[in-house]
């Protein structure tokens, strides 16, 4: 098998001097959909944030290679430009910044970093409208300020919209399914599935088997107390749904 797109080795990270990631080992191949499940507070969002490059996390050991590069050495915007995308568990409200402006600025900043030409406003609008249509989102979203006053579900859908526009190679979806009603879950899952291809890797963090019924994972990993405690296929998700995490809780 070729080198995985993402490979995490013995990753340790602390927040405020508290060790949260205690030696993560995880490899995900190009085109693979990996699900990460685990109890509250086990470090799932911490892992996503470390991968996306958020300040405030101290990596004390280990390494992360992405597409042959040292991911942890890169600024967040460099990671984005090479194709890393994280859908936030809690998307940030940014009043005063219009969603369309933001999305186009982000897209063009990434294109510029890759040496590609900018997308003009008209082409952008065409693509944005088509994407919104697929996600059954109102065009009004483009005119509204980024996440400001959005409902919880709208925020999550906006993350998926951004992802679809930015076309990342590695997308980490941190509990994108929580807060969605049943119809929205189906729509979001359809949007995510539409993005599956042999080049694109998805890391789907979720608490529920329900999302995985739509977005069927190639692998399932249990993150407990800062470590990957078990890995398996989709059967593992079903097992967790039945038995819970009791077996993985620290004694």
């Amino acid at each position: 098998m070729s080198e995985p797109l993402l490979s995490i080795r013995n990753l340790r990270a602390s927040v405020d001097d508290k060790e949260v990631l205690k030696g993560i080992d995880l490899s995900v191949a190009a085109g693979e959909v990996a699900a990460i499940m685990g109890p509250n507070g086990s470090g799932k969002s911490t892992l996503s944030n470390v991968l996306a490059g958020r300040d405030g996390y101290e990596v004390t050991d280990g390494e992360v290679r992405y597409d042959g590069q040292d991911l942890l050495a890169m600024e967040p915007e460099e990671r984005a430009a090479t194709g890393v995308f994280m859908a936030f568990q809690y998307p940030v409200e940014i009043p005063g910044v219009v969603n369309a402006t933001f999305t186009r600025t982000a897209l063009n900043a990434q294109r510029k970093a890759r040496g590609e030409s900018a997308i003009d406003a008209i082409d952008f609008l065409k693509r944005a409208r088509a994407t919104l249509g697929r996600l059954e989102m109102d065009e009004d979203f483009l005119r509204r300020d980024v996440n400001a006053g959005f409902s919880g579900g709208e925020k999550k859908r906006n993350e998926i919209f951004q992802m679809a526009m930015l076309e990342p190679r590695l997308a980490i979806l941190d509990e994108t399914d929580s807060g969605l009603d049943i119809d929205a879950l189906r729509i979001v899952a359809t949007g995510v599935n539409a993005m599956r291809n042999p080049e694109r890797t998805l890391v789907v963090i979720t608490h529920y088997q329900r999302l995985l019924e739509y977005v069927v994972p190639d692998s399932v990993h249990v993150l407990a107390d800062g470590r990957i405690a078990r890995s398996g296929d989709r059967e593992l998700a079903l097992e967790l749904e039945r038995a819970g995490y009791a077996a993985f809780q620290p004694a």
């Binding site: 430009a81 009043p95 933001f102 900043a109 990434q110």
Partner: protein, 459 residues
């Protein structure tokens, strides 16, 4: 701690310098030789001396840039036709009336007053006083419209030394007088260009705007040029007639090293509306005052501002909104961004007097500090002397939102671009309130330019 005042020897020297200046130029100022003008100027200078120099001992000047002002003696700039001035291209796109003043004097070559409609008198203070001083006195409307006495009534509290000094020494300024029911369709752009100077030079500018009942106008006053030795002391005296509406922008577009004092006073009659916007941008020192007097029922006052300071710059913004009569409304929205070791102070006072029941007044001031060395202080003051009012105020000072910055960067924006976008969003809400599209676009461009300077200074 900051010293509470300058040494008296410094202010003594400053006062002596102003005396010399007044003695030297009183006979050559516009209107001199006309008894009422001479008397007004003499009385104003006497009042200036009585009020004394601005020091931190005076409550309204506690956080003011007093040292920058009185630390050196700025002599009034003499007319100097020999040196060319760099006059900027028009700021407003589309049709406009434009008056340009260079070093405090009207420059006909750079101006284009256009053809104001009938019922509009667009001129200069010097022309008005030269052509027919007695008529000027009547034309201005109120017999004491250009009188120190009236300004002091608007301000309701002395000392106002710099306003008095301005009355004594005003060298020129724009005059816009509009009769009842007349609208000035195109905006008026007034540009004050200060030439660079080695010697400390003062420019005492006086703008006069009087709108009759139901009149309409849009006015932009811009300061351009300038250098470290320049002090502008600019007073804009405004009367808005019953049901009339004035939209008024004051903006710094010039050197960030000059010292600016801008004071606007507006009196609002019944149902009148004044909408003011201030852009203060500096690495030097700026004091900006806006004083509105809502004198009759149903008046509406809006005073918004953006303050951007960097390096060791200092911006002191002061508003005083006095609701004298019932059913008045007022809104204030102020945003400040301070970089490096800059500091800012906002004093916003809303006074609701006993006859002003049914008043609705809101004030909102927020500041961003970009560096650990920057400081901002926000002081809203509500003085409410009647029941049945709705007043609100909010103020906060903080840093750029780290979560928002990360969110933007994680989508590919560089740190600098992300910061710029957040700063634009922060100030954009204020500029958005400008109703006139051309004026709003001008302010947006200018704010973006200045934000860019702020961003590149810090990252």
């Amino acid at each position: 701690m900051r010293p509470s005042s300058q040494p008296d020897t410094m202010t003594d020297a400053w006062l002596a310098g102003q005396r010399t200046a007044f003695a030297a130029c009183r006979d050559s100022l516009p209107g001199s030789g006309t008894p009422w003008v001479d008397a007004l100027r003499a009385e104003a200078f006497r009042q200036f001396e009585e009020d004394g120099p601005p020091t931190a001992r005076i409550e309204e000047w506690r956080s003011g840039p007093t040292a920058a002002l009185t630390g050196q003696v700025f002599a009034p700039a003499a007319p100097d036709g020999a040196r060319a001035a760099a006059v900027p291209a028009p700021y407003l796109e589309g049709p406009r009336h434009r008056l340009v003043f260079v070093d405090g004097r009207f420059s006909p070559d750079h101006s284009d007053a256009g053809e104001p409609p009938e019922g509009v008198r667009l001129t200069t203070l010097s022309a008005l006083l030269a052509e027919n001083p007695q008529a000027a006195r009547d034309l201005i409307g109120d017999p004491d419209a250009f009188a120190e006495e009236r300004l002091s009534r608007v301000t309701d509290r002395r000392p106002q030394a710099l306003v008095a000094l301005n009355t004594a020494l005003a060298s020129d300024g724009a005059v816009l007088l509009i009769e009842d029911g007349v609208a000035l369709a195109h905006p008026l752009e007034v540009v004050h260009v200060a030439r660079e100077t080695e010697e400390p030079r003062a420019h005492h500018l006086r703008t006069l705007i009087a709108l009759g009942a139901g009149a309409r106008a849009h006015v932009v006053e811009v300061h351009a040029g300038g250098s470290a030795g320049v002090w502008t002391n600019h007073v804009t005296d405004i009367a808005v007639g019953a049901g009339a509406r004035l939209e008024h922008v004051r903006a710094d577009a010039g050197s960030e090293t000059a010292v600016h004092v801008n004071v606007a006073h507006a009196r609002l009659r019944a149902g009148a509306a004044y909408a003011g916007f201030v852009l203060a941008a500096t690495g030097g020192a700026v004091r900006t005052e806006t004083r509105l007097s809502l004198e009759e029922p149903g008046a509406d006052g809006e005073v918004n501002g953006v303050c951007l300071a960097r390096e060791s710059g200092h911006i002191d913004a002061l508003t005083r909104l006095d609701h004298h009569a019932r059913e008045g409304t007022s809104r204030q929205l102020w945003r400040g961004i301070f970089a490096d070791t800059a500091r800012g102070a906002f004093q916003g006072r809303i006074r609701v007097l006993p006859d002003a029941s049914g008043t609705n007044a809101a004030l909102d001031n927020r500041n961003l500090l970009l560096n650990a060395g920057a400081r901002a202080e926000s002081k809203p003051e509500l003085e409410i002397l009647t029941d049945d009012v709705a007043c609100s105020h909010a103020s906060a000072t903080g840093e750029l939102d780290a979560d928002a910055l990360f969110y933007l960067r994680s989508r590919g924006l560089s740190e600098q671009l992300a910061r710029a976008l957040l700063m634009e969003a922060f100030t954009g809400a204020v500029a958005d309130r400008i109703a006139h599209e051309g004026m709003r676009e001008f302010v947006r461009r200018l704010v973006d330019d200045r934000l860019h300077a702020l961003g590149s200074a810090t990252s």
